[in-house]
């Protein structure tokens, strides 16, 4: 029954998205499945790779789209109910729990990507001291991950966590007598980072240019001061209905306090206005619509999501195909993220096998995601089935940790070009921004420890999370078989012969099967071929 439904949805997707190659039309080989899962999930174990190989990628997507959602907040609520404390650490535990055991690997992957676009960070006190609010925010990203971008943008804009992070929570209307103006923070970043970006784009994501060849700004500072008026009057929706004091309620959208909302007409972008006399939420909705209808949004969001999932340097044609899925999902709906995700993952540029892709395709794996990949690929677990992983050292070790970006600009910029041959080739490689002489080493050391020891130090041994390398150890006496298996799981069968020879030579000098496995994993963790997801 379920499988028939899955197949029907798959056929539906086939009909509506015509951009994938013939290879996607058949059930795939295990290495193809492994590579697909490397893009579409946070990592997959041997069994999931084999299972997915029996499906079409489309069928896998269709199945993922209807899976239940692995929310984080319920776990924290449960802690509270039993009288336990809740801190940012416990929020990370629930993040790991859902990433490792949630029913929705694709959704978890996409939500993490969204958390690096619609950034809030526990680097800020407000986020750090309200872990339930932060979990609620992340759950909101999970909920909207397969929904509509307009709802996502609205929910982001009204979430008190974002309100606290970008300071439009309790943003008051102007007061000419004291010389106070509305806070411009959110107005600026919602345009620059969450929707349209700084410059007018063609549908393929390249810059429109003026007569002198210069990019054309999407807005100027007067547009920001106007947009700032829209985001006034929002504060906690507490029982006391108090704008400036009031109970902090982090799990409900902010409420509009009309008497603190800027009156009068306001100019939006592209010649539109909101009339005087609307209420505040109508103003917010008009502004969200104004941004949502902007021609930049499709290519802007397309490029950002492609960079998170598939490649740092998508061709303009790829961006345009995804942007057109944003503009119309095949049923006249604009902003369908399901259509966008399908278009990204099923595109010929994502599915073409890397050996034919030249020397610039793909992306450096995000530093922290190597940790997650190893955990998921080898079913990290403890006897209790829990994931009390606090990741206290992760920001230093990896330069990265979910919801811990140094600023709203994420851990790395989409336009980062590393000095040297990558910049000289005119290429972007955002993830290199957090690979320094320090983190290159500390992340390798952290993975070394993760492979060999535990993912968390807990007083209670039963709670220590370890990789399950049982299946690998069982075949480790055959070094070739072991390397083949690790190659399939971690590198979708693309390990070069020279790299294989290095591993085999090392394993040949080791007798102990467990030591063979951990050594091979530690070497893969440091290997340039593994580091790049092509």
């Amino acid at each position: 029954m379920v499988s028939r439904l899955v197949r029907r949805i798959a056929v539906f997707l086939l009909v509506t998205h015509t951009t994938f190659t013939a290879s996607a039309l058949a059930a795939v080989s295990p290495i193809q499945a492994s590579r697909f899962l490397a893009q579409a999930s946070l990592g997959a174990d041997y069994e999931e790779i084999q299972r997915t190989a029996r499906l079409w990628p489309n069928a896998w997507l269709a199945e993922q789209f209807i899976r239940p959602i692995g929310y984080q907040q319920p776990m924290l609520d449960a802690r509270l109910r039993t009288g336990l404390e809740v801190s940012s650490e416990h929020r990370r535990w629930s993040w790991w729990q859902q990433v490792m055991r949630g029913p929705d690997p694709l959704r978890q992957r996409v939500a993490l990507a969204l958390s690096e676009i619609f950034v809030v960070s526990d680097n800020s006190d407000a986020v750090a001291s309200n872990p339930i609010g932060a979990a609620n925010y992340y759950d909101m990203l999970l909920k909207n991950a397969f929904g509509n971008y307009r709802d996502l943008l609205r929910d982001v804009s009204l979430h008190p966590m974002m309100g606290a992070y970008l300071s439009h929570l309790r943003n008051d209307k102007s007061d000419p007598r004291s010389g106070r103006y509305p806070d411009e923070n959110y107005a600026r970043e919602v345009m620059q980072l969450f929707s349209i970006g700084l410059f007018q784009l063609r549908p393929d994501g390249t810059f429109l240019r003026d007569g002198r060849g210069q990019p054309i700004p999407t807005y100027d500072n007067s547009d920001i001061t106007e947009m700032a008026k829209i985001f006034t009057g929002l504060a906690f929706d507490g029982p006391d209905r108090d704008f400036s004091g009031g109970t902090e309620v982090w799990t409900k959208p902010m409420r509009m306090y009309e008497e603190h909302h800027e009156r009068g007409p306001k100019r939006l972008l592209r010649g539109q206005y909101v009339p005087a006399g609307q209420n505040g939420i109508q103003d917010v909705d008009a502004a969200i619509d104004n941004l949502f209808r902007h021609p930049n949004v499709g290519p802007f969001i397309a490029r950002r999501l492609i960079q998170r999932l598939v490649t740092s340097n998508p061709s303009p044609a790829y961006v345009e195909r995804v942007a057109s899925a944003f503009a119309n999902d095949g049923h006249g709906v604009r902003g369908s993220l399901k259509a966008v995700i399908s278009a990204i993952l099923l595109d010929t540029e994502a599915r073409t096998w890397p050996t034919s892709g030249g020397i610039t395709k793909g992306m450096l794996r995000e530093s922290f995601l190597r940790r997650v990949h190893f955990a998921r690929a080898f079913d990290a677990a403890n006897r209790a089935g829990s994931y009390p992983i606090s990741d206290g050292g992760a920001p230093d070790d990896f330069g990265q940790r979910p919801l811990s970006s140094p600023t709203v600009f994420n851990f790395f910029l989409p336009d980062h070009k590393p000095t040297g041959i990558i910049a000289d080739a005119g290429l972007y490689a955002p993830e290199f921004q957090i690979v320094t002489a320090v983190t290159a080493i500390t992340s390798a050391n952290a993975l070394y420890g993760q492979v060999r020891g535990v993912m968390n130090n807990d007083d209670n041994d039963a709670l220590e999370v370890r990789l399950d390398l049982h299946d690998e150890i069982a075949i480790a006496s055959d070094a070739n078989a072991l390397v083949n298996r690790l190659d399939l799981i971690l590198m979708y069968g693309t390990m070069s012969n020279p790299m294989r020879q290095v591993l085999l030579r090392a394993l040949g000098q080791l007798r102990d099967p467990e030591r063979r496995v951990t050594t091979a994993l530690q070497l893969i963790a440091i290997a340039p071929e593994y580091a790049v997801l092509q």
Binding site: D183, P418, T419, A437, A440, G449
Partner: protein, 476 residues
């Protein structure tokens, strides 16, 4: 000299040619600069006896509200300040008075959290530069309004402005910094093959990114080594050999190649760096227990190891973030500015202890200044701001540039107290670069727009025009 492996694939012999092309494209004037500069610098550095200089950039990221760092303290001026700042104004009686050597006729005070810096100012070891910012060319309010002047790209935006404060290229989005450009041409004065002129304590940054060279990154505790690498156990031997082999393979994919270079460079540099630091006697100067102070301590240690590291010219980059105070600016600065004050003064003491206080200049930079007007306990992104310098490049005990009028609607106010800068970042950086050793004639190679703000070779240094004279001009 061996080329730096991690810096790219440009072989030594092609490097000069490459630089010539790159600089020519950037400067757009003459192609001969870089060879000249290279030779002159090399000769200057070959002078016997110690010739060591270091520049330290303290980047206050987020855009510091610096009109609460340097504040008008006299009656009428403070009133003007208090009126425009509203709930953000610091009371007159909490300001720490300073007496600039050249008076512009006004009184000034520092933020009450800058106790140590007030002392250093009084000792002529610390200076301020007022209303500095990014400019493509000198700009008036009228030109700004009529759009008749080229403006910095992405004015008031974090990403663009923090980049331009490091690149000094406000008309470009090229993320190449002026310390990076210096290193591209003068790194040959240093001789450790694994560690270049530029060292960052805060990871990747634009300031120290050149076209060819980049920066070496350390932490507040120094460099980091790979576990179980280079040890004597059988396992370590196996692993070391395998790691070396993996990193020595030929990679065609550019990302794989660069990843391998970074890993290799990091492993090798750690050996040199940790050896050099291990021989540094402990500093007697006490540093506070803040991350910023610990980073300045490590800079002092690195400077102490300069001979082992074979350094004649160095730059250091330290970032202290969290200044984007759209909310609670007064409370936050109260907590954060003392951290800066203590770290800088501790660093100054350590430099005296090491006998190199006349060889090191520390300066601040930030994304932008902030609006003079309040948004309700916070301020928003603006333009010109005040900055701090400590060290011989900028004689201390003085305020450079022109402290602007603050009242709403004054002739620099583009709205909400977003002030047009009266000193360009180019002039600010030119003062530092000249001291560092860049020959005047070759300054445009490092700061391509400098000619728009300062006549190279003029008798006054880039920041040197007396503030009193300029103030008179302003009032007239």
């Amino acid at each position: 000299m061996k080329d730096k492996g991690r810096d790219g694939d440009v072989p030594r012999n092609d490097r000069r040619k490459f630089l010539g092309q790159a600089s020519c494209a950037a400067v757009g004037t003459t192609a001969l600069f870089n060879t000249v500069l290279n030779l002159r610098m090399f000769n200057a550095l070959a002078v016997p006896g110690e010739d060591y200089r270091a520049l330290v950039c303290l980047f206050l990221s987020g855009g510091i509200d610096s009109f609460n760092v340097l504040v008008p303290a006299g009656g009428p001026e403070h009133l003007e300040y208090a009126n425009v700042r509203g709930d953000l104004a610091l009371p007159q009686d909490v300001l720490l008075p300073i007496a600039p050597r050249r008076s512009d006729g006004r009184e000034y005070g520092l933020h009450p959290g800058l106790v140590e810096l007030q002392t250093l100012f009084g000792q002529n070891r610390f200076a301020l530069v007022s209303n500095v910012g990014t400019l493509v060319e000198p700009t008036t309010l009228d030109q700004f309004r009529r759009g008749s002047v080229a403006l910095p790209l992405g004015l008031f935006s974090h990403s663009d402005q923090s980049m331009q404060w490091q690149s000094s290229l406000p008309d470009s989005r090229e993320a190449v910094g002026w310390a990076g450009r210096m290193a591209d041409v003068i790194d040959s004065g240093n001789c450790d093959p694994n560690i270049g002129m530029n060292i960052s304590l805060s990871g990747t940054n634009v300031w120290q990114s050149g076209r060819v060279t980049t920066h070496y990154t350390i932490t507040e505790n120094g460099s980091v080594g790979l576990w179980d690498y280079g040890g004597a156990s059988q396992e370590a031997i196996v692993r070391t050999e395998a790691v070396d082999s993996l990193l020595a393979l030929q990679y065609r994919h550019l990302f794989q190649k660069v990843f391998a270079q970074r890993m290799r460079g990091a492993i090798d540099a750690n050996v040199d760096f940790s050896n050099a630091i291990a021989n540094v006697p402990p500093l007697t100067t006490q540093f506070s227990n803040t991350s910023l102070s610990r980073k300045f301590r490590m800079i002092a240690m690195t400077i102490a190891a300069r001979q082992a590291l074979c350094m004649k010219r160095q730059t250091f980059f330290v970032e202290f973030g969290g200044w984007d105070h759209h909310d609670e600016v007064v409370l936050n600065q109260e907590a954060m500015l003392p951290v800066v004050s203590k770290a800088l003064s501790e660093f100054a003491s350590a430099l005296v202890e090491l006998g190199v206080d006349d060889a090191v200049t520390t300066f601040t930079a930030s994304d932008f200044g902030r609006t003079l007007s309040s948004n309700g306990r916070g301020s928003d992104h603006a333009w010109g701001g005040n900055h701090m310098v400590m060290g011989p490049a900028v004689p201390g005990g003085d305020i450079y540039g022109v402290f602007p009028n603050l009242y709403p609607g004054n002739n620099l106010d583009t709205g909400r107290g977003r002030l047009i800068p009266t000193t360009s970042v180019d002039a600010y950086f030119a003062q530092l670069a000249l001291w560092f050793g860049v020959p005047t004639a070759d300054l445009p190679l490092i700061l391509p727009n400098i000619g728009r703000f300062w006549v190279p070779g003029s008798s006054t240094p880039p920041l040197g025009a007396a503030s009193a004279a300029l103030a008179a001009a302003r009032r007239g």
